[in-house]
Amino acid sequence: MEEEVESIEMNTSSARRAYTLRNNVARQVAVNFMPSRQIAHNTLRLRRVNSEHNALLDALVDAPDAADAQADIIVREMEQHQSLMEDNPVSEELRREALRDLPQCLTMKRNVRAKLSASVSLRSKRRPISFLKRLKYRISFAWKRTRDKFRDFIFSIELWYEAIRNIEGHLGSAVGSYFHLLRWLFGLNLLLTTFLLCFVVVPQALHDQAGNGTTELGALDFISGRGGLEHTLLFYGHYHDAEIASPGPLRYYMPFAYFYTMFCLYLMFFAVLCYRTAYSYRRNFIEPSGGTGALSQLLAAKLFCGWDFGIASPAGAALAAHALYLEFKELLNEQNRKKMITSAWVRVWQRLANVLVTVLALAIIAGILYGLWLLLAVEELTENREIYISLAITAVVSLCPVLLHFIVKLEYYEARTAFYVTLARTWLLDIGILVILLIYWSRSDDECWETRVGQEGYRLVILDVLVSLLLIPTVELVRGMLFKWKVLEAAPEFDITYNSLTLIYNQSVLWLGMLFSPLLVVAVTAKFLLLFYVKRESALRMCHTGKKVWRAAQTQTVLYMLVTLSLFTMLFAIGSVFLRSSSVSCGPFRQYEHVFAIVSEGLLQLSRHHTLRAVLHFIVRPGPIAFVLLGLCVCVYIMRARAAAQRSMAAILRQMLRLQAKDKDFLLNAIEKVSNGEWLYSPKAEEYGEDSHTWKYLNEVRKPSNAGFHFDGSRLSHSFLERPKSYVKENRPTSYHTERPKSLEDGDTDSSFSWQGSSSYLNQKGEAEEKR
């Protein structure tokens, strides 16, 4: 026996593989009977066949009818799960999921699918199902089909698909994610445009045709939005406030149309954004939970997930390899460097510095906002003061990220935290500016303040075109050329954060301005279209990948979150400012004393339904609202507490899993050895250390007094391979128990085992004990 063992260990890797496989086969057989494998799973995601099962399949590779036999094994494994084998659409769906999750080649999967369908049709018992169930199946089926069709449709549009793929190939997937965001926002805006055009702009245009209007456009009017453009379709003030004459019998009531279109669009996109953010958050933050901060696992993660498989150009690949090299070196250095022991005083100082700089940054932001307010309030400047103000705003918005980037360097944050902090502050500044504009104009005594806000939005978008479509690409072009002529050292990089912030800023302006200037959507959509091509050229020609690729997936989630927050803030601001007032002289809501009256009077007709009005009045009072808010806060607190508890539970369970894995490994190794007849009881005590598992096991569990062990060769696990029957309940472990006379000296472990090792050990052990 010993020679056999030794000769196996000295063989080449192929024989080692055969040895491993043989052990794996024995192991697989033992594993198959574990209770965890016998439960039928009700979840839609069937537990995957894992590597040990594949060992069983691999062992058949040399057999003549290999593919078929392997397919048979898989089908038999799947047949054990009852929920898969039924003949209804739910089971079909489960089968499809199970098929997709099989880690086998496609040919095998088709084989398995054919066999499975045959097996199912054999087994199906035609039972009449109730009407409700049939209805449920039909609905779920139809829903699934429409979802697939929708997916197909969205995919067939594939706008810019090749272009983005090209960019990803050159610059990596982080930059690609910026372009994905751009494309997604563009699609969103396109939808907005369609709806607005159909429901709001076109009816108004038709109405305008009936009347007559003369517009004279001055030179600067295009930028300022005043003058000739003021009374056009562009702005809120122009919209009609009553019915629009229509040729047919249906009546088109403009105020309703305007209000409800806007309302529905805002809410719909809020819902879509929330869903998208939540999905992204779950995928990128919650699922890979755990080691985000610890250095451990970083190196392994870098090794296994560091290479972006989407890179397709030689230059990109060389850069990526170099970037990986640098990151490896950095990680190694961090490991080798001794941890700096920061005393308590240093930490206090660092915290203090952080707080001070945060206050400074917030003060800067507040100062800018206040300055803007004063600027707006100054009355006696030139006529084009609006343009100047908008120019100032645009300059501030473009330059502030750079300023904040420098400020954050004064603080003691890690790189990622610094990045998030800068992002948050820039976003705060942008949103603050927009809210200030809204508040200022709504409180001014202007006749038609809504149009003013619309004009502000229009101006901001136009001026930002100058910056982002002309100025910045020129700067990048110049930098690229300087780099090429070897004047500059550093290659210009594609700054994902700056560009993403531009996108978010534009989108926020759109959210603000959409209500007051319906055609602004068209402008922003066109702008995004141009932005795509400009950025693509600039990215491909000038830029190289950033040296540091920061967790692109998590950055994506943060950006989506910012877009959602922008929309939420805008909704809140607009809701609180706009709904309560109404300009008497302009806009589609002229007749109503406040805009909200459209809902209360127009839809609900509250002046007639007194009880409804009383109920609504009651609900809107501070008392019930405070109560609802309190309830929500309590819910949030409970959910947070639960999340924290579950997180710690998950950590405990993970630790337990690891320990169980070790246990299972130990036990399976023992089983393999025994079933292969290699369980050698060496009589020498010093071969095992005092604390080795084997020694403890032998001495404490398998008491040497267990007698009656005989090696039974016919019970070797290899014979299992020849049995074609499926491993169902008849073939439980009990079937290959033999009757064995129980002797008095048996230990506790013998009741259900029939493992029979060699008897030589025990005799030797007994002798060794006697000798002592």
Partner: protein, 189 residues
């Protein structure tokens, strides 16, 4: 569909849709890419039999732009081929693209990633596998000593059961917790 040439039968397309993570359009696009590798070898219409018998040699598959710059291209082809040699039939190629697509779930990708990194094919990622992987990833820029350090650290971090090599469970444990895994292990067709 008009008067387009029908590349696959309806049954084939349904089969493929059920067994992979692709829609119809994507499957046809994958076929187009496959055909571009060697238009003489691959016919315009694929019968059922041809789909898993006609194999494109591995040297030509490696010239595909998606795979050309990948340091593990040879191993990828070997993993997905039906006979381990690297020559891919259409069904193998479809399978490969399906695993690398965006819709494939994390655990499927983890399984295939494990097989790809297991360069000597013994169901464990051992020391030599890791050394070779570091060499391929950085295109030979790291010194021998640095590579040894990296591999030792990785084994320390990830090897749970302490046998000096990574089993699939160890590997999955590391990779599932990395937030970037899904986005890097992704080839767009």
């Amino acid at each position: 569909m008009g008067n387009k040439v029908v590349t696959f039968t309806e049954q084939q397309l349904e089969d493929y849709q059920d067994c992979t993570f692709f829609t119809r359009k994507e499957i046809l696009r994958v076929f187009k890419r496959f055909r571009e590798v060697n238009p003489e070898l691959v016919p315009k219409r694929m019968t059922e039999n041809q789909a898993h018998t006609i194999a494109v040699p591995v040297e030509e598959i490696e010239k595909l732009p998606e795979l050309k710059e990948n340091p593990f291209k040879r191993r990828i082809c070997q993993v997905f081929s039906h006979d381990g040699s690297g020559n891919l039939t259409f069904e193998d190629f479809l399978d490969m693209m399906s695993v690398f697509s965006e819709a494939a779930p994390r655990d499927i990708k983890a399984w295939y990633a494990f097989r790809i990194y297991d360069l000597d094919d013994d169901m464990y990622i051992g020391r030599e596998d890791l050394l070779e992987a570091t060499r391929l990833l950085t295109k030979g820029e790291l010194h021998q000593q640095e590579r040894d350090d990296i591999v030792t650290s990785v084994l320390d971090e990830a090897d749970v059961d302490g046998d000096g090599r990574l089993s699939f469970m160890d590997f999955e444990h590391v990779v599932v917790r990395a937030p970037d895994f899904l986005s890097t292990f992704h080839i767009r067709v």
